[in-house]
Subunit: 250 residues, 2 copies
Amino acid sequence: MSNNVLSLDSVPLHTQLRDVLRARILDGEYPQGSQMPSESELGALFRVSRITVRQALGDLQKEGLIFKIHGKGTFVAKPKTFQNVSTLQGLAESMTGRGFEVINRLHSLRFVAADKRVAERLGLAEGDTVAQVKRVRLINREPVSLEITYLPKALGERLEKADLVTRDIFLILENDCGLTLGHADLAIDAVLADTELTQALEVEPGSPIMRIERLTHDASGQPLDFEYLYYRGDAFQYRLRIDRQKGTQA
Amino acid sequence: MSNNVLSLDSVPLHTQLRDVLRARILDGEYPQGSQMPSESELGALFRVSRITVRQALGDLQKEGLIFKIHGKGTFVAKPKTFQNVSTLQGLAESMTGRGFEVINRLHSLRFVAADKRVAERLGLAEGDTVAQVKRVRLINREPVSLEITYLPKALGERLEKADLVTRDIFLILENDCGLTLGHADLAIDAVLADTELTQALEVEPGSPIMRIERLTHDASGQPLDFEYLYYRGDAFQYRLRIDRQKGTQA
């Protein structure tokens, strides 16, 4: 182990410093939630310039391992919350069984004209009336995701009478509307927080966001519920298990 | 349809403009790859200030729907490439069947001491020698992902003799090493591009990146291959289908 001595090989100093600091964070030498040494302390410790320290810390911040609080310093990030998405579950259903509290801020429930994409997904005509629900979901009182949900009008009218502050829409559809859910198709990518996400999720503009498009069908394959889910990249992970075998057997 | 007239309701003008422009992009009125009207043209068209136009375009850029080329203007983004991850496949295996060309830039194959996380995942002791492979994967000549792969030393020695420029590591493990792959555990989140990713993926610093941690096991459940996969958020999606029923049957 090289302690605080960086080598003179071809790897840039800031990369070496970043890798050493990352290893210390992952090893628990700098524990989660603790304050990191200051830039000048790190510079003195590793005999590198302030610029090198800043670049290494900037990289670790982009990876989500550390975060800065203005005027207070740099801290090691807390572990991310995760949801296992190997089966289709609502957030509350998935998280409360594991001891997390899920509460929702209902931003709006409106009836709007379906745009082209929403209409295509739900098998409706463009301009047909659909229900749009916007909710911020809080895990242990921290905002974690913004969900924008589109449903056919008749289902939206059922949701108006339901408790959207504590319940998953999936469970309302199943238990209150008597529907049987089947499969969902998901598309996952990464975007940056725009104005709406910055406000809804209480993050900086340009923060990393994991975005999901999810189209949920009933057991007969009829599309029911089309959603955009925006998760804070610094706070949340999807986890799943995938098998190598194709179809029924390898 | 409200044409170019924004309403005076409580929704901010830049949000209304963003939503109108987004609908036009999704409808194909502004086709993929085409140049958007300039900021001043949009301002005149919708009778809003340059600041309002900039905020609306900024939001669409963060969503990945448009991109700017310095000195040339604003363009509608091309559709994202996607990989179906309902079953475990290598990138080339998954994409070439659909008519895409996959080529890899081999950045390095080195033997390094396993850090705590790599050692834990692969069931080794911290400090044991492992192979580390860094590759940038190009789809149709465009860089799409950086993959950092860790394997036990003996497998790494087999990889040294293999064609890492055109082949998936999964297929090398199966066909050259005679292993049978079983399942993989994935964790998915979003981060921002750091120095290494900015260079490897040819994106701006702070661009959105979809990050995957993937631990692949052989058919007996032994961990074989631990990877960090970093995908360009503006260019790539994961797609998968999830079923509602838990376990074998609902």
